[in-house]
């Protein structure tokens, strides 16, 4: 029991990072109807921006903020400069997914061309380990969980109680109807890409704070878990992303602890495949059904 609690503790930390990333990824799909395979690379870029700030003497929190803002700018520019023109030009799903892939490659290997394949890490303040109900978490990890809970609450308030949030949900379910009701879809989409960029930045930087290594493939490797969480929860649904993240995060760490660390990803991927076979629309299916991801 003791060990189970320990791994669940680790799982909650992973789930927190996943949750922030998965909300961002799923929002992008909901608004723009595309799978942004450059999302992981954006996370890495944010983590490197934070690394530059951190190495220049800023403390980690200021770096976290700057990294997230950088990712927001990058995400906005990607949508406006590349994805949107392509969407106007073609309806081919393949073109869009390959474009996001190409952009992801350029960002990821651009970073590798500059920094090489070396591992970096942040200078964090002195932390200590806290013991709670059999779990062991460091103060940093506790803050990571706090950031995730904060982000989830803010997203919930945004989506439920603001005009922007309601418009985002409307566009995700039926873009044409939303447009006909007078919702400025372009502005909503721009805002969504900025918000999801902030989330990808938060996820990228907190991921590095947790695992304490950063290289050019950090974000892209973690990204697949984010996809798993978003798809499991129901692609396009932010609440689904939260549910999916908790399941994937806890299952990944518990199976890593009890079975074999090497099988950590395999277990979560296997869950994903089973979900795709049995219920391809995921747990919360409203957006996924509207976009006909499965027939």
């Amino acid at each position: 029991m003791q060990t189970l609690a320990l791994y669940v503790g680790f799982g909650l930390v992973t789930a927190s990072i996943l949750c922030v990333g998965a909300i961002g990824f799923t929002l992008q799909f909901g608004i723009s109807n595309l799978f942004n395979l450059a999302f992981g690379a954006t996370m890495t870029a944010a983590a490197f921006i934070a690394y530059i700030c951190n190495a220049a003497g800023l403390d980690i929190w200021a770096s976290l903020v700057l990294g997230s803002l950088g990712a927001a700018a990058l995400s906005y520019l990607l949508n406006r400069g590349i994805y949107l023109p392509f969407k106007k030009r073609t309806t081919s799903l393949f073109t869009l997914i390959m474009v996001t892939l190409g952009v992801g490659l350029v960002i990821q290997y651009g970073i590798e061309a500059i920094w090489g394949a070396t591992d970096f890490s942040y200078t964090l303040g002195p932390g200590r380990s806290l013991h709670f109900a059999g779990m062991v978490v460091t103060t940093t990890q506790l803050i990571v969980i706090g950031i995730a809970v904060g982000a989830a609450v803010v997203m919930h308030l945004l989506l439920r109680y603001t005009r922007l949030g309601k418009a985002m949900r409307a566009v995700a379910v039926n873009e044409r109807l939303a447009r006909n009701c007078g919702i400025p879809v372009r502005i909503v989409a721009d805002s969504t890409w900025v918000i999801s960029g902030v989330l990808s930045g938060l996820a990228g930087v907190t991921l590095v704070m947790d695992v304490q290594t950063l290289n050019s493939s950090t974000g892209t490797e973690f990204f697949i878990l984010i996809v798993a969480a978003a798809v499991l929860g129901g692609i396009g649904s932010p609440y689904g992303a939260m549910i999916g993240s908790i399941i994937i995060g806890v299952v990944a760490e518990v199976s890593a602890g009890f079975l074999n660390p090497a099988f950590k990803d395999i277990t979560s991927f296997a869950i994903l495949i089973v979900v795709l076979l049995l219920r391809p629309t995921g747990v919360i299916r409203s957006v996924a059904s509207a976009k006909e991801v499965a027939r």
């Binding site: 799978f35 869009l96 590798e112 395999i266």
Partner: protein, 344 residues
């Protein structure tokens, strides 16, 4: 020519043939049938590993490698079995697609399958020697000649024969009524199903045949390089092949050939022999950046590739359909068939 140059050129030729075989298989799946198979490389890997374990002999006879089976079968058998194994794997993976997912959603699922496969083979060391991979895989024609230069050219000829057979086979499929069904599947799956095409069966077929072709390419490659490890078939390789198809021309006969010559061979294999500059990871990362840029640029400026798929118009069917002669653009006949506009 010095033997070093001959080795270099023979190697490039062999790689070119392997990439052409693989690109033709992917063209059948993606270009013709419209399936975004982001797991394509695992079928090449399946072929390569099959050839490895079928020609290495008993585990323990060649260093400290652990792997399953461990047979030593004579030359053509490993090649053929590789094709069959990879084809069966293709049918198995294709079964995942029985649930009809949106094409890009399916692509993500296949990408995950590719990652699972890499993770499994890396961590289950008993299968194919884990992350170290198989090495010292015997050369099939070692007994023919003792000169290594001559051997390379014999091997290149063998790769060329397999390549030509595969390209011809794909060409036959593309031109046959079966190919027309596959294109109907690509253009409008619901309409294809509505006129009585067995959509699930066609998908399984194309997964099987494409997988088998990928398996052959893996077999040809591994008997030459004599080594195969998870790092040889990372999921990025699939995207190199997709880039090749996009550059060459999706769905056409010669597009994959041209694309395979331009993208992987010139780019990746050519630059391998460039003088090293900068950090050791600089050249590979520049290659990947270039692939990303090529992808985006081609999809924007020339999405049909250098050799576009020919428009297929059948005048007799067109007239029988009672079409308006003055209509400005002719609709692709396949599309009209799929839409039920042409009586069959």
């Amino acid at each position: 020519m010095s033997s070093a140059w001959q080795f270099y050129i023979a190697t490039l030729v062999i790689y070119a043939f392997v990439y052409i075989i693989a690109a033709s298989g992917l063209n059948l799946q993606f270009g013709v049938a419209g399936i975004y198979n982001f797991a394509f490389i695992i079928f090449q890997a399946a072929g390569a590993y099959t050839t490895g374990v079928l020609s290495l002999g008993r585990p323990g006879s060649t260093g400290l490698q652990t792997y399953i089976l461990g047979l030593h079968l004579p030359f053509p058998v490993p090649l053929l079995v590789s094709g069959v194994v990879a084809g069966l794997l293709g049918v198995g993976v294709g079964a995942v697609t029985i649930r009809r997912l949106r094409a890009d959603y399916l692509a993500i699922a296949l990408l995950v399958i590719s990652l699972i496969a890499t993770d499994l083979v890396t961590n289950a060391t008993g299968l194919f020697n884990g992350a170290t991979g198989l090495s010292l895989i015997p050369q099939p024609f070692a007994s023919v000649t003792s000169s290594s230069t001559a051997y390379d050219w014999i091997y290149a000829a063998y790769a060329g024969v397999v390549c030509i057979l595969v390209v011809l086979a794909v060409r036959v499929i593309i031109r046959s009524p079966l190919g027309r069904c596959l294109r109907a599947l690509r253009e409008n799956e619901n309409a294809a199903a509505a006129i009585g095409k067995n959509v699930a069966g066609l998908r399984l077929f194309v997964f099987g045949v494409g997988g088998a072709i990928a398996g052959l390419s893996g077999s040809v490659l591994v008997s030459f390089t004599q080594a195969w490890a998870p790092s040889s078939w990372l999921y990025g390789e699939t995207f190199v092949l997709f880039t090749a198809l996009i550059v060459g021309g999706v769905g056409s006969n010669l597009g994959p050939v041209l694309g395979a010559l331009l993208v992987p061979v010139v780019l990746a294999e050519g630059s391998r022999y460039l003088p090293a500059f900068g950090a050791p990871t600089l050249v590979p990362s520049l290659e990947w950046i270039l692939i990303g840029v090529i992808l985006v640029v081609f999809l924007w400026f020339r999405p049909t590739g250098l050799i576009p798929e020919p428009r297929r118009v059948y005048p007799r069917a067109w007239r029988a359909g009672g079409a308006d002669e003055n209509r400005p653009n002719l609709v692709d006949d396949d599309q009209r068939v799929a839409q039920g506009l042409v009586a069959r």
